[in-house]
């Protein structure tokens, strides 16, 4: 598969295309973007298969695995889920053939390329609904599919985004930047704008596939965020479904920069094309949600906060010249001040954090220096903010954590005029 030839201007290999021809048309397409996920993918695929059989036994379905060149047997594990008249699970009773296709794209493994392959498959298979499930969603349940698919089947929504029960310290980038800034700018309280498990209508998928953004490296890296923002911009009908628990995954420190590129880079990039939209939006509104918008779990979690603050202080000192290009003098001075504080006194206040982010966003838009350098420079500052969030919520209840996030969101909303002033060059 990996070496199968593709036409020069196509992301689809001939072999992938041949397999799609055999699938024909589907009602539900389940996309699995993978890259060396053998440790987790088997049970996830089995759960998806069980979910399809339990909730959509009459529907035409296919599982499409877009793989970035796994060497650990991921694709073989996925392919074992197929059900047809040759291969049947002993306990499986299925009306239909369930096709499972795995394609390895030639480009380096990025979620954007995987998502594009899934979108292309969805369009060619005329999928009514496509669902993307992350290979890291180890706590996927059979009912995730129905929770994600039904709102689209009912014709009520075009995009179904997840909400989860998460650990209170899981997804600090999400709770301290992506969610509040997206909400402030676009006026919709989307809890997971960078969704890893989501569903969308065939129409929305085709519309996104037709975007020119695929040639842009930032867009490819942050395709899920782009997808959500594109849906907002196109006035797609969006809702949220509570899926249940999403397991906390330990991230390495080195993972932060790629995460910033995938999420914050995409969010910052979207500001230019969608300026008219976010300029016009006013106070944020909740969006239809099935189940709770958010649940937090409170079990103890060991985090090296001291290291976070050190990296903040070191970063502020070492990136002085970079920050001078990005930040206003007053913001930079305030950062210098808090960098000198003892650990017990250190706080990166919400107001300063919002100001920092908005100044970064405008610097990114104006490309005052390399955009990638801007994102990298954000990393130590985010660590400082993360330290503060951890400290403020160390003994907090679930409601207390939510209150703090809500306060931050309101701070982002209050700060929006400042962003507009910066953007329009009046500051």
């Amino acid at each position: 598969m990996k070496n199968a030839r593709a036409a020069d201007d196509s992301i689809l290999t001939d072999e992938f295309l041949r397999q799609l021809i055999n699938v024909g048309e589907v009602d539900i397409l389940v996309g699995l973007p993978t890259h060396n996920n053998a440790k987790t993918i088997g049970p996830i695929v089995a759960t998806i298969q069980a979910g399809l059989l339990a909730f959509f036994p009459r529907d035409r379905a296919a599982i499409i695995n877009a793989d970035g060149g796994s060497q650990d047997g991921t694709t073989e594990l996925v392919l074992n889920a197929a059900i047809d008249d040759v291969r049947r699970g002993s306990k499986i009773s299925a009306l239909r053939t369930l096709h499972v296709i795995s394609t390895q794209y030639a480009a380096s493994p990025t979620r954007g390329t995987a998502l594009r392959s899934i979108l292309a498959a969805g369009e060619l298979l005329r999928a009514k609904t496509s669902v993307v499930i992350s290979p890291e969603s180890t706590q996927v349940e059979t009912d995730w599919l129905t929770k994600l698919v039904r709102p689209i089947y009912a014709g009520e929504f075009d995009l179904v985004l997840p909400t989860y029960s998460r650990h209170r310290f899981d997804g600090i980038l999400l709770t301290n930047l992506l969610y509040p800034m997206t909400r402030a700018l676009y006026g919709l309280r989307i809890r997971e704008p960078y969704a890893l498990d989501f569903a969308f209508s065939g129409t929305l998928g085709s519309q996104f596939l037709a975007q020119n953004a695929w040639q842009d490296e930032t867009a490819r890296a942050g395709s899920e965020t782009y997808f959500t923002l594109n849906a907002i911009a196109s006035r797609a009908r969006i809702c949220q479904s509570f899926l249940g628990t999403r397991e906390h995954i330990e991230r390495r420190s080195a993972d932060l920069i790629p995460a910033l590129r995938q999420t914050v880079g995409a969010l910052f990039s979207s500001l230019g094309p969608h300026m008219a939209l976010w300029n016009a939006s006013t106070a944020s509104q909740p969006i239809p949600t099935t189940g709770p918008e958010r649940e937090f779990t409170l079990e103890p979690l060991r985090v090296n906060r001291k290291r976070l603050r050190e990296m903040f202080s070191t970063g502020v000192a070492e990136l002085e010249s970079v920050f001078q290009a990005i930040l206003s003098p007053s913001t930079l001075e305030e950062l210098r001040r808090i960098a000198r504080l003892e650990e017990t006194e250190f706080r990166y206040p919400a107001e300063l954090w919002v100001k920092t982010i908005y100044e970064f966003a405008v610097a990114y838009h104006k490309t005052v220096i390399s955009r990638d350098h801007i994102l990298q420079a954000l990393a130590p500052l985010f660590r400082g903010r993360a330290f503060t969030f951890l400290a403020e919520n160390r003994n907090g209840s679930a409601d207390g954590v939510e209150d703090n996030i809500e306060a931050l969101c309101l701070e982002f909303e209050r700060g929006k005029p400042y962003l507009l002033e910066l953007w329009n060059g009046t500051q």
Binding site: N22, G24, D84, D85, S93, L95, R96, T97
Partner: protein
């Protein structure tokens, strides 16, 4: 009597194409509104031209007709509405002259409660015929036995106020089961069969065979004692009437049906009940899986035996041999209106089931005629007759044959209100639109298409006698199989989908062969090492003869 069929051809049933008809429904010769043997005799040329070579008659014996003749009150005669025994003999001779075999219905399991045997049996507990039926002082026996007509019957026991006892019935309560533990019954039923065999009939379709014997602690189906009864009948048949055929009606799973073939010493043929609904399901799902799965589960049968395949018959489209999920899907797909459902089935004809879609009707017939087995065609389906779901029970699929667009569809000269059942009159399927005369005039009518495909089917013994091997192309909407007999090989490829399809078949084993399409005789490219690409229109199918030239 002239019998112009090959008497020594003891496996004729494997090459047969059966036409199922009820005498009552075909043609009324005497103007009483009911079809009869003289009328049927008049239409034997039609059947010959159609291309069938066997006729299966539903019960025509004297009967109160509370179950369309399956409630027999005299096994040795003909119901007066249908004519006389002499009329039957003339019809039989006429059929044989046209090389058409005649299979008649034999209801072994039960009689009408009006049968003199039952009247004697119930008259007193001391009557010599008391043990010809299954009696009990309580209604608690055989609790594991299922109820077949669950829409109308609450129990398999019925109270007889005359003899103040309960009698056993697996079907309607007016159909008491005969007691096959009684040797006198076994002897008498053989006498009945012998009577008709001596007249010249070619075979029997034995009704409801799994239920002949009852045993406590069982579901009273498929018992060894029932098989012993069948074996005994078969032994006598072979001994006295070689070349005659027994066809089993046993709505069972293939594995449970297999014992009815035994070592080739019970039934010659049995209906493949589970396949039929799965053919409909496969076309609706546009997925070959239901069809290939059930055929994979179908056990090998002795070389002398054969499956009998059908799309529709006089009963409801039975969904008994389906899982709950499959049954629910079939009901939602083919019987949206509750009145279309009966017992565990759908009481509709072929054309309405397939929404009068000519392409689907052809595809289903194409599969019927090319899968392994002997096909049985239900009267009227060759012209796409409709049904009337407003008639009770299964009468909606038993309406008069539509010969013309004229008076009473050419079925009878009587007043319309005197017909045994009203004609189909709706705009789509009504006799002015759907009738034999009109379709005779049109070269591409369903009737003429049916004649052509039957002729192609009969041009080779492969379909009736050959082996089958499924190909499994990655495109699941394509059902492909190779039929083979000796050096003759036929490739069948069916598109189960409503959309155009492409498929690549792995035919390397047949490398060097040329494919010859069997209807138009056109040549297709030679098979080489590469996958063989075929494209299809919606519901299209091909039959290819493989020739190495």
């Amino acid at each position: 009597m002239t019998v112009d069929v090959k008497p020594a051809d003891h496996s004729w049933y494997k090459r047969a194409i059966i036409y199922q008809v009820h005498v009552r429904t075909f043609l009324d010769s005497n103007g009483d509104g009911i079809g009869d043997f003289q009328g049927l005799d008049q239409k034997m040329d039609y059947l010959q031209e159609l291309g069938v070579n066997a006729v299966w008659l539903m019960p025509f014996f004297p009967s109160p007709l509370r179950d369309d003749g399956y409630d027999i009150s005299d096994y040795y005669s003909v119901h007066s509405s249908y004519g006389t025994l002499e009329d039957f003999k003339r019809f039989l001779a006429s059929a044989h002259q046209r090389r058409i075999r005649v299979i008649i219905e034999m209801v072994l399991n039960h009689t009408s409660d009006q049968h003199p045997w039952f009247q004697e049996s119930r008259s007193s507990k001391e009557n010599p015929r008391r043990d010809w039926y299954v009696w009990s002082d309580s209604d608690t026996g055989y609790p594991k036995a299922g109820i077949n007509f669950r829409d109308t019957e609450l129990s398999n026991w019925a109270w007889d106020p005359v003899s103040k006892s309960y009698y056993w019935h697996r079907f309607f309560s007016h159909q008491p089961d005969l007691n096959y533990d009684n040797p006198a019954i076994r002897e008498e039923m053989w006498n009945v069969m012998k009577f008709w065999l001596e007249l010249g009939v070619d075979g029997f379709r034995l009704d409801a065979v799994p239920y002949l014997v009852e045993r406590e602690g069982t579901n009273c189906e498929n018992l060894p004692e029932t098989h012993a009864v069948i074996k005994e009948l078969r032994r006598k048949l072979d001994e006295h009437f070689p070349g005659k055929m027994l066809l089993a009606e046993a709505n069972q799973w293939p594995a449970e049906l297999r014992p009815y073939f035994a070592d080739g010493d019970e039934f010659h043929m049995a209906f493949h009940f589970p396949l039929m609904p799965r053919m409909f399901m496969g076309v609706k799902l546009e997925d070959r899986k239901p069809i290939t799965e059930i055929l994979q589960q179908t056990p090998e049968i002795p070389q002398s035996c054969q499956w009998c395949l059908f799309l529709r018959n006089h009963d409801e489209l039975t969904l008994e041999m389906l899982t709950d999920m499959e049954r629910s899907y079939m009901n939602d797909s083919y019987a949206q209106e509750k009145t279309m459902r009966l017992n565990l089935g759908i009481r509709r004809r072929l054309a309405p089931l397939l929404e009068n879609d000519r392409r689907r009707i052809e595809l289903m017939n194409g599969m019927l005629l090319s899968l392994p087995g002997t096909p049985s065609i239900y009267y009227g389906d060759e012209i796409g007759m409709g049904d009337n779901i407003n008639l009770g029970d299964r009468n909606g699929v038993r309406t008069p044959m539509q010969w013309t667009g004229g008076w009473n569809a050419g079925f009878s000269v009587t007043e319309p209100e005197k017909l045994y059942a009203p004609l189909i009159q709706d705009a789509v399927y009504g006799y002015p639109a759907v009738n034999v005369t009109a379709q005779n005039r049109t070269e591409h009518s369903l009737l003429n298409w049916t004649r052509r495909i039957l002729a192609v089917r009969k041009s080779t013994d492969v379909f009736g006698c050959g082996s089958i091997e499924f190909l499994y192309p990655a495109n699941h909407r394509i059902l492909a199989y190779v039929r083979q007999l000796g050096t003759e090989t036929i490739l069948v490829v069916n598109n189960l989908s409503n959309a155009a399809q492409a498929v690549e078949l792995d035919l390397r084993r047949y490398k060097g062969n040329i494919l010859i399409e069997m209807f138009g005789k056109n040549i297709f490219p030679r098979v080489v090492d590469l996958p063989y690409l075929l494209t299809f229109g919606p519901y299209q199918f091909y039959w290819f003869r493989l020739r190495r030239i």
